[in-house]
Each structure stands twice: as structure tokens, then as C-alpha cells.
Amino acid sequence: MTAMIDITNAEKTFTMHLQGGVELPVVRGVSFHVDPGECVVLSGPSGAGKSSILKMIFGNYRCDSGRIGIRHRGAVIDLATAEPREVLSVRRSTIGYVSQFLRAVPRVATIDVVAEPLIANGTTRAEARDKAGALLRRLNIPERLWALPPSTFSGGEQQRVNIAHGFISDLPILLLDEPTASLDASNRAVVVELIEEKKRQGVAMVAIVHDDEIRHLIADRIVDVTSFAAAA
């Protein structure tokens, strides 16, 4: 398999025990692949399961059946059946996730939030902070904000911190959930640039983007998730 991601027939249903056991099917029969250097955009209406699919690829949501093949350190593993520590290992060195909402540890300074993925992988704190600073600067987060925790920032600023956190390390797979949602035109352009750079480095990406213009700029392929919608 040369693809970085190869999903076959993945399926997920929520069972709401607190609501009398009602079942909410999310997706069914999800199958697609992503090659290195390409960006696949998931399209479809709100609630169709796009975010859920991203979370399944990250191992955040467990899938009920099917296969999520990930090329991790030269070998292919099935994230759906992997041991928890294998999933941790995949997250550390293969898959990065830029979520829609910043969920940072409270009280940690922005510069450290962004530097953390590098430090966890062995970079020295000093070097990691340098790189974090460079990326934040590029994303127009002024230096005076770097020592503050991002919880007090505006939505757009938080989003940019999120992006910096996701883009800073050299992970071969990136999952992007609405990366440009709260950003103005110039910052959107920066993000598109960053995505292009990653593509050139051979990173495989799956993204959810509502903005048509951005979608045209970054998507190599579009996968319509309505075809995976589980019958209500």
C-alpha cells in the first residue's frame, strides 16, 4: 500500500444509553484512501459525519467495524483494532490533528502550547520555542501574546494557535477540521500557503472546508460523505 490512509468499510453508530438506548447511526461503508502529498477534502452537509470520520482516523472515535489502514513508520497498521499504546504511537509520530475548537491545557503559554509537539518528540525546549515563534509570527500572532495562555484570545486567534500546534512538527498525515473557519482573508492565505508547503513535503491530508474558494485552492480530490451516510 502506498497510500498513507486507506479506509475500508468503516462504520460507527452511537448508542445513547441515557436516552433509553436510542441508536444514532453516524456513518457506514466509509471507504477512501489518501496518498502522500495529496489533500482530500470531505464534503457534505452539516451533520453528515465529516468530523466523525476525521476523529475515527485519529483514533478519537472508535469505529464499530471496518478497517482504518495507516502507514506508520513504514508498516501498515489498522487503527480500528490497534492497541491503545499503538494509537498513541501513531499520534506521536504519524498523524496530527487540527481540531475545530482549541482544546488547550489551561494555564499553558501559547508559545509552549505550540512548542509542545516538538518537545514531546525530542527537540530541545529552546529550539522548539524558536520554531514555534517563527510559525506564530507567520500566522500573525504578535509576540506580546506568546506568553499568555490562549484561552483569552479571540476565536480567530485561537484557531491560528491551533493551526500552529498542528503544523509545527513533521508528521506525514494531517487531519484538518475547518482550518480557516474564523480567519480573515490574509490569514486564510497564510494557511493555504502552509498547506501547500506540506503537500510539497509529501504530507497526506484530509480536510473539512466549507468555504468553496479555499476548497478549490487546496483540494486534490473531493470525497462526498453523503454516500456514507447511514440510513436514518
Binding site: T15, M16, H17, L18, K55, G59, N60, Y61, R62, P84, R85, V87, L88, S89, R92, S93, V105, P106, R107, V108, L118, A120, N121, G122, T123, E127, K131, S169, D170
Partner: protein, 266 residues
């Protein structure tokens, strides 16, 4: 391009529990608990009162003998040993060097009438350190690391606040660079702001020192902040287990869903 250092934990588990159980007569405190903990992993055991989580912690740290199953620990020489087969001297030595145990009430984990420096230095003296200056320097640097003013090094913990006592307890446990730390409700009973500071400290120390830890807590926020994996206990059994974000974001079992939905939103 930064070189990616492999920080994946080794392939060998550090602590292995197999079908662990404890009962007192007809009362089953916990039953059929099995898992493997790897170096650098933090496992949270969450559950409400009576779930059996404290009993489980005692079993895992060899303070209680199991009624069923066994716990094995990989010693520094790489050999996996059944804890029940260790002699008392070995077990006590392990407890003082390779393991840490942070009590909910710091007074139980400290010598309250002895200075902070001596509290931190005791484990070093117990393993043969015989140079006052070096013992004191090491104690000082640990106090700094847990954000206790070094000027308080000669004060007894009786004069410390609750948060400071807890941080001192952590320093006392970490001074021998243990590989595994057990924590029993480490933030219980502390003011919220004090808890926050303590959690930050613990998070940083665990990641800097590559510690493996087993944290018993009823507070899901603590689990989310500190742990990679979580086991949810109810009625003595583990009813759900997985990565922390998996279990908290995608709870499958009814009880887990109940717990997660019961957290008041921030």
C-alpha cells in the same frame, strides 16, 4: 527539518495485572482486572466511591495481597517479577526507590515534624547517600522543581499549606527517580486554584521525567489532563477502558456515558 526522535515507550510492559481480584469474605472489592502499563504511560482509574479503585491501587502497589490473579513488575534488571513472590525487604526497597506513592492526605506521606529538606533527603539517605552537602543540594533542587521556596527547606511541613505539603510529597517521592508513581486522589481536598497548579506541575514532571503513573481519581477533568489511558470502574469491575480521549469523547458503556454527562460544563 527537525530530527524526529523516537519516544515510543519500549516494547516491554512495566506493570502487568492479570485477573486481579480482592474479596473480603463475601464482599468483592474488585474482580478480574487485567491490563499492562508501559513506561511513560499514565493510566487513570476513575470511578465513584465504592467502585473498588482504591482497593485496586493498593493491590497494584503490593500493599494488599490479591485474592485472585497477580501483579507483575519489571525490575530495573529487566526481569518481570510477581510482586507476591518478592520478599518483604525487596518490596520495601522497591517502594522506596523505583516507585512513588502520593497519598491523598500529604500528612500520611510525609514526616510532619521533620524539616522539608530531611523529608526529601530521607530516601537518598535510605539508599546510602552519606554526604550532607550533596543531600541538601539535591533536596534544594527538588524543592525548586516543585515550586517551593528554598528558604523553607528547614521548615517542617507542619508549617506548610495543603498545596505546599502535597508538592513536598511529590518531591519526596521523585527524588530517587522512580519509574512508576501511584497517586491516590492527589488533588483531593485542595482548593480549586491550588489543584490547578498542582496538576500543571504533575503534568510537566510526568512528561519531563518520562514517568509511568497510575492515578486514582473520581474527577474526570484530572483524568483528561494527566492521563493517556483510563479505566472506568464500577462495582469492583472495569467496565470500560481505552485512551482517555476515546473514553471521554466516545463513551460506550451506560455508566461511562452517565459519568461523562454528569460533568458540569465549564
Amino acid at each position: 527539518m527537525a530530527e524526529l526522535q523516537d519516544v515510543t515507550p519500549d516494547d516491554q510492559p512495566l506493570l502487568v495485572a492479570e485477573h486481579l481480584g480482592k474479596n473480603y469474605g463475601r464482599l468483592t472489592a474488585c474482580r478480574d482486572v487485567s491490563f499492562a502499563l508501559y513506561p511513560g504511560e499514565v493510566l487513570a482509574i476513575v470511578g465513584e466511591s465504592g467502585s473498588g479503585k482504591s482497593t485496586l491501587l493498593q493491590l497494584l502497589s503490593a500493599q494488599l495481597a490479591p485474592s485472585a490473579g497477580r501483579v507483575s513488575y519489571r525490575m530495573r534488571d529487566g526481569v518481570l517479577r510477581d510482586l507476591a513472590a518478592l520478599g518483604e525487604a525487596e518490596r520495601r526497597f522497591l517502594f522506596r526507590t523505583d516507585w512513588g506513592y502520593v497519598h491523598q492526605d500529604p500528612a500520611q506521606g510525609l514526616r510532619m515534624a521533620v524539616s522539608a529538606g530531611a523529608n526529601v533527603g530521607e530516601r537518598l539517605m535510605a539508599v546510602g547517600w552519606n554526604h550532607y552537602g550533596r543531600i541538601r543540594d539535591t533536596a534544594s533542587s527538588w524543592l525548586e522543581r516543585v515550586e517551593i521556596d528554598i528558604a523553607r527547606i528547614d521548615d517542617a511541613p507542619r508549617t506548610y499549606s495543603g498545596g505546599m505539603r502535597q508538592r513536598l510529597q511529590i518531591a519526596r517521592n521523585l527524588v530517587t527517580e522512580p519509574r512508576l508513581v501511584f497517586m491516590d486522589e492527589p488533588t483531593g481536598g485542595l482548593d480549586v486554584s491550588v489543584q490547578a497548579r498542582l496538576l500543571d506541575l504533575m503534568r510537566n514532571l510526568v512528561s519531563e521525567l518520562g514517568l509511568a503513573a497510575i492515578v486514582v481519581t473520581h474527577d474526570l477533568a484530572v483524568a483528561r489532563l494527566l492521563s493517556h489511558r483510563v479505566m472506568v470502574m464500577k462495582g469492583g469491575r472495569v467496565i470500560e477502558t481505552g485512551l482517555t480521549d476515546q473514553v471521554l469523547d466516545d463513551p460506550r458503556e451506560p455508566y461511562t456515558q452517565l459519568l461523562v454527562s454528569s460533568i458540569l460544563p465549564a
